[in-house]
Every structure is written in C-alpha cells, then in structure tokens.
Subunit: 337 residues, 2 copies
C-alpha cells in the first residue's frame, strides 16, 4: 500500500496541535510529515510521532520538491485563500479547516459519515465544515434520509476553545476578574449571543454558516433553517438544542434506533419520570471524544411531526481536527480501491 | 391611604432575601412587616427597613391576630401547599412564588405588565410564574397581541441562582474542582440539559412549566410551544433563545417598536454588519435590573412570519421577587381605586 506525504499548515495553533494529536492516534499510512506555520512560529520544535519536527515557514515555494499528497490546513481564512491554491498547484489535496472555501461550488464540504461521496468530485480542495455545523450534520443526516427534514431551529451553547487559545484564556482569566482580550465582553459567568461578526439580516456569520453549510452538506437546498449561536463559559465541547420538523411522521423508538445505527453518532438518553438525574450528553464528559453524542430526544408536539435533540461534540476534535483527518483517511481509502 | 400589613414567608432563603431587598427599594404603603421561616431559621435576626426583625416560625397559627393583608410566599411547593390556605383563612392575600398553585384554575398566574386584570378574580392566592416563563411573557405579550403567535420554540440558558444557594455554591466551588452538591453533575465549564425532574414525554418539569404557564398567562390555550431548558455556568441572569412564528405578517421596525413600547421591556439591539461587537443583553449586565431585556431581534426566514429573540432578565428579581412585589403593588392600587 502506498504511503503518503502529509503537510500540516498552521501546526502551532490550538486546532493545529489537535491535528497532530489526532494524526498520532489514527496512524495513517504516512511516509513523511511536514509542519508549516507563519514566519512568527517557523523554526519552533514540535514533538510529534516520537520525534522532533522543526516547523517550516509557510511560503509560496515551501511545498516544492516535497511531493506532498495531503495538506491539512488549520490556518485563518486569509492564509487558506492564499496558500491552498499554492499547495494544490504543488500536487497536494488540501483539506481546509477555514471558512474560505466552504461555500465555493467547486469545493466539496464534507463530514465523512454524512457525505463521503462528495470527496470524489474535489478539484484539489476539500473544505472541513464549521465546528457547530459538523456535529449537527451527524445527528440530522439519518433523520433527513428517513423522515425528510422540513425545518430546523438551532440554538447553540458553544465552548470558548472554538475561539482558539485567546478564547480559552479569556475564560480562565475571567475567573479572577481579568478583562477579556479575545471576546468583546466577559465570558466568565456570562452568555454571549454573538459568534463572529454580523452579516446579512443581522445574523452573525456563525449563524449563516450553520444555515448555509447544513444545506450544502445534506444536499437539501430548500431546507428551512434558522439559528441563534451563543458562546457560553465552557472550555471544551459545543452543545446544541436542535428543534426539527419533518415532512413524514415518525415513531419515536424508530427514530432513536435510526440515530443509534448511524456511524459516529452515540445516543445517550436515559430519563426516568420523577427521578433526580437523567443521562444525556454534557460538554465536560464529551470533551476528548471523537464521536457526536445525542440525547434529550423528545417528540415536539407543537408541530405534526417534530423532535427536539440535544447534540454535543468536542468542537476541536469532531468539530475540526478529527473530521479533517477522517476526510484524509477516507480519501486515502478511495485511492486504494 | 390605607397602610397594609405584609408577611414574608421563607424570608431567609435566596429568593426570600431578595423579596426583602425589593420591598425596601419599592416602598409599599406598609404598616407592619412580619417575617416567617421554618423552625430551623426561626429566631434569626434580619436587618430590614432600617431595623432588626426576628424571624418567626411558620405554624398553623402564626398569622393569627396580626391582621396580615399580603403574605409573600417564597418557600418550597410543599410549604406553600400547606400554609397558603392557612394565610388565606387568616385574611391575607397570598402571592406565592412556588409552583404549587400555578396551574390551579382558581388561581390567577400573573405578570403585572402582561395580565394585571387576572389579579381581580383571585380567591385568596395569586401565583408568581416560573422565572424562565416570566421574562418570556414580557417579550411575547405585545407580539401575541399584535401579530398572534402561532408557535414558540424556547431554548434557555439558565443561571445557577435559579437553583438557590446550593446552585450558586456548586458553581463557585466547581471552579476549584469540588464535586457538585446541588446539581447531579458539575456545572462549572458545563451545560446541564436538565432543570427539575423528568415528567411526561421525557420533558423536564421546567420545560412543561414554560409550556403550560405561557398558555395560561397569555390566555392562549392552543398556542403551540416546545422547550428545552438548560442550566449554564452563569451566576445571575437567565438568557433565552426564543423562536416565534406568527399568524400575521409583520414589519421588523414595527415589531421592534412594539417591543420598545411595552412596559418593563427594554430593547437592546445594535449591530453593524461586519463590525466587531454588537449591543445585546447579557446576563452579567442585566443582573440586578428589574426589567426584561430583548435583543438579537431578527426575521426568521424559515417560516412565513417568524422572528428570533434573545431575552435576558435577572431571574431572582423579575423572575421572582420583583414580579411578586409588583403583583402586591398592583393589588394595592386596585384596592385604592
């Protein structure tokens, strides 16, 4: 079996470091790894795969002569916009974690459990969806297939790690009363109903990402969706309250089984009437896991056929690094078929 | 003008103490105050209205001979069930903050800005609604009147103070890694998708309260409502993501004006496309305020006529003590008309 040369671009950021960790765990058939970052981080030594790597500077020529097969990008949107085509030109498949390419009609947007077939039509770049979208897709795909989704109302509870190390520090330092640096307002003991900047119709970009990316990934362009995305004082793990309306009616046990049978999705839903504490996914327990967890599965009697879901995943793993590495794995599998 | 004798039952709990604070601020026409609590707290000295009060034990005869006009109850449901009729028999109007009487058809459930007229038909007890319901009502009432609400999807972000001092301590001590005592799971750095015990259809009692109390307060029995209620690591202030669908179409500016014109409701909603931080209500800023705040007001294009709202209020003030004292004020006004 062929072995691949893999580059990680943006290897020193919060998500980039998680890329390295997930790559170590998943043991892809790799010949050589190359780590890249901006000039500021270039030259840094990074322990990876049992040896020491030196981070190289990301430049227009940095990929040349290295025969790189896969380049995992976890840099900002601007960097991806500029350097993803450079990597593609040098012969690499780019799997990009930024928002730069996600809505480009020539770029597949992939959650491997959901739409692996879209990997095939890439023309050099595959986009990794937004963290809050990825976990919702794993829960909604089997339901859309079986009951056809008519409408979705998202309300999110998103961890500070989604805003990188700065977000993490703001929560940590906020405990001591320090003013925030990354966020516009304190996050400790607070909920911020704004993620990313404001855009059309007074929706934030994060909200529009959830709406637009959901439609693209599920190939369901007329799906009715609205979203309110909120940052909460949680370090790791996004939670989502998802209200779904279907075209077809469903049986609740059948729906739960449909969810439980879907790959990468774990149903965690035990409640007993009148008793103290149920079992449902929670950020502190799901942090560090690669799967998406769903609980609080209840019929919504306010519509003919509706359900409420509570969906939790590690936003840096399944919401970013794990999903990207899974795309790479799937692509490799497809090369070897 | 007549002066009234007022009792506070459960004067030493978290909400009870807020009752005393709000009573001090609002200067009702009161002759005498009486503070009551369980045997455990009886005998405690409490500084109130510039003097020292001794907390008396709540008993079957404690109201006798005191000519109490208004008894504000902030004890548990069991205590209210047992002692509210005792206070009524002794001649008092009971304003009860527990859930014991809320859905009793003979008991009005009142938010003074929303349904003050219901005060008139009380037969001794008026119920104070659930904290998460009260703030939603102040935002939804003017919209229901003008555009007729068809359906509501609630997702809440509720502060630990809603669970009393134990909830507060769990968050405070959780920072140091201490195990929770009040909540079944850690609340620091976590979201708990369960408030109160589970009931019908795997909904929690908190969720059913929001559904049932909304219908009763708005006198809108067929309103379609669903809810997911979540405890978040916030000390003070409940936030709510409320998705609303109307029967009639609306103009967004008109809707915002309708909200801004409603008493007790403050619109806090400034966003600029592409710019860093908007202005919207947040728990840390709204804590200590008596009004309900609404922001993130956006058209929901996934239905013919829909809107998203972000509603924040101090759950111990407007969500409990302030609302109860406002009911007392309104009742006094009605006696003097």
């Amino acid at each position: 079996m062929k072995k691949y040369n893999v580059a990680v671009v943006g290897a020193t950021g919060m998500v980039g470091r998680k890329f390295l960790q997930v790559l170590e765990e998943r043991k892809l058939p790799v010949e050589n790894y190359y780590l890249f970052a901006s000039a500021r981080s270039a030259g840094k030594k990074v322990a990876f795969m049992g040896k020491e790597y030196t981070v190289e500077e990301l430049t227009e020529t940095c990929f040349d002569g290295k025969d790189i097969d896969i380049a995992l990008f976890s840099a900002g949107g601007g960097t991806s916009e500029k350097f993803a085509p450079v990597a593609v030109k040098a012969g690499a498949l780019v799997i990009d974690n930024s928002s730069a390419w996600r809505m480009d009609p020539k770029v597949p947007l992939v959650v491997p459990e959901v739409n692996p077939e879209d990997i095939a039509w890439n023309s050099g770049i595959i986009a990794n969806p937004n963290c809050s979208t990825i976990q919702a897709m794993v829960a909604l795909k089997p339901l859309d297939d079986k009951y056809k989704i008519k409408r979705v109302v998202y309300s999110t509870y998103q961890a500070v790690s989604g805003a990188g190390m700065g977000g993490y520090s703001d929560l940590e330092n906020g405990i001591n009363g320090d003013a925030p640096k990354k966020f516009p307002y304190p996050i400790f003991g607070n909920c911020l109903p704004q993620i990313d900047v404001f855009d059309e119709d007074d929706y934030t970009k994060e909200e529009l990402k959830m709406i637009n990316e959901t439609r693209k990934i599920l190939h369901h362009d007329d799906m009715r969706i609205t979203a309110t995305t909120v940052r909460v004082p949680v370090f790791h793990g996004h939670s989502e309250s998802i209200n779904v309306e279907f075209e077809k009616d469903y049986d609740l046990d059948d729906l739960k089984k449909t969810l439980a049978d879907f790959p990468g999705l774990i149903v965690m839903d035990e409640v007993k009437k009148g008793e103290g504490s149920g079992i449902y996914p929670m950020a502190v327990e799901i942090a560090g896991k690669d799967e998406v967890y769903v609980g609080r599965i209840r019929r919504d009697r306010s519509v003919e056929s509706g359900v409420n879901l509570w969906v939790v995943a590690d936003n840096i793993r399944k919401g970013a690094a794990t999903n990207a590495v899974q795309i790479a794995q799937k692509w490799i599998d497809m090369q070897n078929k």
